[in-house]
Amino acid sequence: MDFDLGDEQRMLLDSARAYLQREYSVPTRRRQFAAAENGLDRKQWGALGELGWLGITIAEADGGFGPDLVCAMGIAELIGEHLFASPYVQSSLEAATLLAELGNTVQRGRWLPAVASGEAIVVLAHFEPGMGHDWRDVQLALHSDNDGAILTGRKTNVAWGASADCWIVTLRDPDGALSAWLVDPLTPGIFAERYAGIDGTPMLHISFENTVLPASARLGRSATAALEKTMAVSMAATCMEAIGAMTKLQQMTLEYVKIRHQFGAPLGSFQAIQHRLVDMFAKVELCRSLGWLATSHAEAPAGQELALSGIKAQISDSCRLIREEAIQLHGGIGMTDENDTSLYFRRLLALEKHLGDQHYHFGVLAGALAANDGAGLYD
């Protein structure tokens, strides 16, 4: 049992924290979404590469400085805390994991150093309309001859898709196995529609119409095991981001009740309010313990799927409680679009649902308990 960070990890995270405090704020996020073409400043992205954020998940042999998942999860937590809008999780965690697990020498050489430096952004196009919470439920099928694949169908909820230089698209092979493909967004037969996620994140809805992918675009043979690992990593990152955002929102609420006066006294002097803030604090601290456990599991995800489900379930549940309490304790002011609280609220709603909400994941656990005569997270 070792809960401590190493010195190098601590240094990288300290510098990341300092960077975000200096360079980023919620107003920056608003300007970012309002101004930049895809909501992303590529120059800043390059700077992150230099700071070591983007390559920390990538082996040195592939042009990175890692892999160090613990550090990456620490960055995810900071991203959540600062509501930093970027394809960090998509490119440096999801795509980098898939490329490292599945890519051949050419594919790795083409993309991993570029992801690590920030030169390239690669994102996963995985979800499908009506897919629900089960990431395994991929139905988009390829029709292939040996030279490649022909696709017709749709992917959706592709976060930062319009900023990407390359997509990794997941498909069903004719034999039902999962496969992953590197796809140039400019390939003929692709139509992308932009929209914003509930928290403002730029998203893509992608339609394929007889799109032809060359055989060389295929990443490895079966993508199932690599996707399992990727989803474990992504789930842990989602948890850590949520923990960062909850921590910040709980602190904002605490500060607010200390200054807001009603009935001649600060709100925070009323015991009923105090106890609710204590419950928020407790929820966040319990989630933080689970978040580091998720990180630990993401490093060696074999056999930890159920535990990750449980952790995501609890953290999703807390996302709801923390955001709803934060608004209620702020009162009307917290509901306004111009107040930061409402942005954290919407981000926490997105994180609650992303990769499965509490109802889905408690269902996974319940199903396992019922099927295994009561064996679940504990025997």
């Binding site: 979800f127 309309p129 009506g130 897919m131 629900g132 919470h133 439920d137 139905q139 959706t156 909820n157 529609e193 932009r194 929209y195 914003a196 996620g197 509930i198 928290d199 403002g200 998203m203 809805h205 006066h261 009603q262 009935f263 001649g264 009923a272 309010i273 709801r320 709803e324 608004i327 209620q328 009162g331 009307g332 002011i333 509901m335 306004t336 679009d337 111009e338 409402s342 942005l343 609220f345 919407r346 709603l349 997105a350 649902k353 992303h354 499965g356 909400d357 109802h359 408690f362 269902g363 319940a366």
Partner: protein
């Protein structure tokens, strides 16, 4: 004791239902069911249809031009309005100001204003809350100073719902700064066109402009716009606040959303499964159904007390907070039912043919207000603690 609907009550409900079915324009009803935004015109056009039937003052006694219904009939009427998909008739004019004018207003005020409320010629907004006086309403600071035969109003109101639609406002202003909080407040009417008034839109996190800030800069209104006695505005406001609370449960709307929830939960997903077949989800629906049942019969019990002339006090607070909790719970379940396909308010939906999912997220975001406005649910608890429990 017989807790079932009498023939008269059933007939009355049928009459209301048929009127809505035949007179509510389809396009309005569809907008309401689809949770699309309604404009001023939409609201007013329905109000005029109601007025033609003599129902705009639906909770008014006959002497003021109302139908003279019992509290239970009023309840049935409101429920059918919600369930039938009618645009909301906002309480500000007919249900909040009007009863107050009947009780405290002068004959001139009544004769002039009540018919204009019924005909929807006037759209009233409420000038109560202020940035630093939320649930602690009595700490308001907007001041009205008497200058000759006029009040001169300076200050700021917040959270003014549909202030941008309204041509009139009733407000609470401080007319005596030297006495304790509740004692120096007056209840004043004003025209929104009066010089010195600025209405600033406030967009909520659902992306919708519904509330406003209203600023008063030397706004002059005649002294005759005072309702009730000078410095006795709190008495008026209190009567009105209690009324607002009984209204706030909005049981019919909750039932309408429950019906929608079931429709969505009963839709086959892409693998043919229906959410309602998951017993865990079905139990959540079951629990909310029983919560609604309890609230419904609690409401009917209090309305029955009201009919019998009993005073309904702190229990109205209970209806307000339980009603809003249940509404919020349903709005969350609706979001859970459509997740993970959540899109930002105002963003293009993946399937523009079905804008409902996006509207349901908007509703969830918007309905956070239910537990905050009209006296937050925490304040309702304080009221019950004091009034009902003697704590």
């Amino acid at each position: 004791m017989k807790l079932s609907w009498s023939q008269d009550e059933t007939d009355f409900r049928q009459e209301v239902r048929e009127f809505i079915a035949t007179h509510l324009p389809r396009v309005l009803r569809d907008k309401v069911y689809a949770h699309q935004e309604l404009g001023r015109k939409d609201f007013v056009s329905w109000a005029r249809i109601l007025n033609d039937r003599g129902w705009m003052g639906w909770n008014w006694p006959v002497e003021f031009g109302g139908p003279g219904w019992s509290p239970i009939q009023t309840h049935i009427f409101e429920e059918e309005m919600w369930i039938g998909g009618a645009p909301e008739v906002f309480a500000f004019g007919p249900k909040m100001l009007a009863p107050l004018l009947m009780q405290f207003g002068t004959n001139e005020q009544r004769d002039y204003l009540l018919p204009r409320i019924r005909s929807a010629e006037d759209w009233w907004c409420q000038g109560y809350s202020e940035p630093n006086a939320g649930s602690d309403l009595a700490s308001l600071r907007t001041a009205a100073v008497i200058d000759g035969d006029q009040f001169v109003i300076n200050g700021q109101k917040a959270w003014t719902t549909y202030g941008h639609y309204a041509n009139k406002m009733f407000l609470l202003a401080r007319t005596d700064p030297d006495v304790p909080k509740q004692k120096g407040i007056s209840f004043i009417l004003l025209d929104m066109e009066t010089p010195g008034i600025t209405v600033r839109p406030v967009v909520l996190m659902d992306g919708v402009h519904e509330v406003n800030e209203v600023f008063f800069d030397d706004v002059r209104v005649p002294l005759s716009n005072l309702v009730g006695e000078l410095n006795k505005g709190w008495t008026c406001a209190k009567a009105l606040l209690a009324d607002e609370r009984i209204n706030a449960g909005k049981l019919g709307r909750t039932k309408r959303e429950l019906r929608l929830l079931k429709r969505i939960a009963n839709r086959p997903g892409r693998n043919g499964q229906r959410l309602i077949n998951d017993l865990r989800y079905a139990e959540r629906v079951a629990r909310i159904e029983v919560d609604i049942l309890a609230l419904e019969y609690m409401t009917l019990r209090l309305l029955s007390d009201l009919s019998a002339g009993k005073v309904v006090g702190a229990e109205a607070s209970l209806l307000k907070w339980r009603g809003t909790e249940i509404a919020q719970a349903i709005s969350l379940m609706l979001v859970d039912a459509i997740a993970p396909d959540l899109h930002a308010p105002g963003s293009t939906a993946t399937n523009p043919a079905d804008p409902l999912p996006q509207a349901l997220v908007r509703q969830y975001l918007n309905w956070r207000k239910l537990a905050i406005y009209g006296g937050s649910n925490e304040v309702q608890h304080n009221i019950v603690a004091k009034a009902a429990l003697g704590l």
